[in-house]
């Protein structure tokens, strides 16, 4: 089990041949002369008969279903333009919000500079995205702040089964949402927000080779003076 996981963490570079039999080329790979190669710097994962390379760097690559944080950059009578940290801005139409918005009345609901917690509902072949906030939990964000990390770091901030993020919430009392696009919303008292950011920096830098979760927990214990019995 352990050794299998370790081989899965092997770093692949663009052009590396992936020696895996009986699988089809998936995300981040390409096939040439019957062989499968990595198309990106990343790590190999095998799922549902496909071999993929999960990127370890680079910009956010939007995919359908992702929950992300966007900032409104422009307003039109029937839609808003939203920057979601992707190669292209996304468009939020009036029929993808939970209100009935009359033509020309968009700015009374959402303004330029507003931050939105939203879902990417479609990405077409031209990289045009459709997004929505018309769903339970999605909304215009009020209070707190947004920081940005590399999108490839998102899984580490969330932690195994959400363990890292729950720990951060528990110690700091902050509300935290980690968008798949590398934007993180943090709300709470200033001291708490501050701590969350420091902890996230710690995870990003990964200074401790051993037991990062423990290291982050120790840091939070020290700073907050809180103890929890698990």
């Amino acid at each position: 089990m352990m050794s299998e996981r370790e081989t899965e963490r092997e770093l692949l570079l663009p052009g590396d041949e992936i020696e895996e039999t009986g699988v089809k080329p998936g995300e981040g790979t390409f096939k040439k002369n019957g062989k499968i190669y990595a198309a990106k710097l990343g790590v190999k994962t095998v799922r549902d008969g496909y071999v993929n390379v999960a990127a370890q760097s680079g910009r956010y690559d939007p995919s359908e279903g992702d929950k992300v944080i966007g900032t409104v950059t422009d307003i039109d009578p029937s839609y808003w333009t939203v920057d979601v940290n992707a190669p292209f801005p996304a468009v939020l139409h009036v029929n993808d919000v939970p209100w009935r918005v009359d033509y020309g009345d968009t700015s009374s609901y959402i303004e330029v500079g507003d931050a939105l917690l939203l879902r990417i509902t479609d990405v077409d072949e031209q990289n045009k995205m459709q997004i929505s906030i018309d769903e339970e939990g999605l909304r215009k964000l009020e209070g707190g702040q947004i920081i940005e990390i590399a999108p490839s770091q998102v899984p580490r901030i969330i932690g195994r089964g959400g363990s890292m993020i729950s720990m951060l919430k528990k110690y700091t009392g902050c509300k935290i949402f980690v968008g798949q696009n590398g934007r993180i919303w943090i709300d709470g008292d200033l001291e708490g927000q501050y701590l969350v950011i420091k902890a996230i920096e710690m995870i990003e830098e990964n200074a401790q080779a051993l037991g990062l979760t423990d290291a982050v927990e120790n840091f939070l214990k020290e700073e907050t003076g809180k103890e929890f019995d698990d």
Binding site: P14, S57, G58, R59, N206
Partner: protein, 253 residues
């Protein structure tokens, strides 16, 4: 290529800097050195010091330059004013414009541009200190910066020049060799597919000499490719290793 009359470039079978005919200058590359760029690499090659950075894929401006079916790879090669003995006037000149074009074309060959219609992948090459071979160094560093930026590509381009000095075919011309030698052939090479994506030549070579030069360059490019890969491994493997250990320790608990 200048005249070879006034300066001795070879003594006792060695070049002026002590290298053998088929020997590269020392090369080192660091990946991921800039904060704002999506990917970056810093290269030292002999006395060359070159920074490369990648932004994108991002929306192409001006719009009329957009391609509806693919991304455009747009390289910009620039020399810092203080990078050469006689101050370089800031801004593009004919030489840098040509190099930018060739580097763009060389890199576009390995990037899966069809993944990002209408966008641009900007590649910036800044020569901070120049000492012959900056286009090869720039292309080599730019390839690492592209990989660091997570750009999908079929391989990294490695680049190197060979040439002729005092009638001898030699690898990787140094500054005096470039100034006083008889020929210079820079190439960009894609190791996985064994293809050339950059090829220029100036000077005077027989076909035999050309073949010898190219064989030297291609062999050297394979070595350079390993240095490129090493830079990325150095940058990313430690992270992975630490993650492994973290996960392992969690598993034990």
């Amino acid at each position: 290529m200048g005249s070879n009359k006034d300066i001795d470039l070879i003594e006792d079978g060695k070049r002026l800097d002590g290298r053998d005919f088929d020997e590269l200058r020392e090369i080192s590359i660091d990946a991921g050195v800039l904060k704002r760029a999506d990917g970056s690499a810093y290269l030292e090659w002999g006395k060359n010091k070159i920074m490369a950075a990648v932004y994108g894929p991002r929306e192409m401006h001006p719009r009329h330059a957009q391609e509806t079916t693919k991304a455009v790879v747009r390289a910009r090669y620039n020399m810092a004013a203080f990078s050469v003995p006689d101050r370089k006037r800031p801004g593009p000149d004919r030489r840098s414009t040509e190099i930018s074009k060739l580097v763009s074309e060389a890199l576009e060959k390995v990037v899966f541009t069809e993944n990002y219609p209408r966008s641009v992948i900007d590649v910036f090459i800044e020569v901070l200190q120049a000492s012959a071979g900056t286009r090869c160094g720039g292309l080599t560093a730019a390839s690492v910066a592209l990989a660091d930026a997570g750009i999908p590509m079929s391989d990294m381009v490695a680049s190197c020049a060979s040439g002729k000095i005092e009638g001898e075919v030699v690898l990787d011309l140094g500054k005096n060799e470039d100034n006083y030698g008889q020929a210079d052939v820079p190439v960009g090479y894609i190791p996985r597919s064994d293809e050339l994506c950059l090829l220029q030549m100036d000077g005077n070579l027989t076909q035999e000499e050309y073949e010898k030069a190219m064989e030297m360059s291609i062999d050297a490019c394979k070595d350079i490719h390993e240095i490129q890969r090493g830079a990325l491994r150095e940058r990313y493997s430690t992270e992975l290793q630490e993650e492994e250990i973290t996960k392992a320790s969690e598993g034990v608990e």
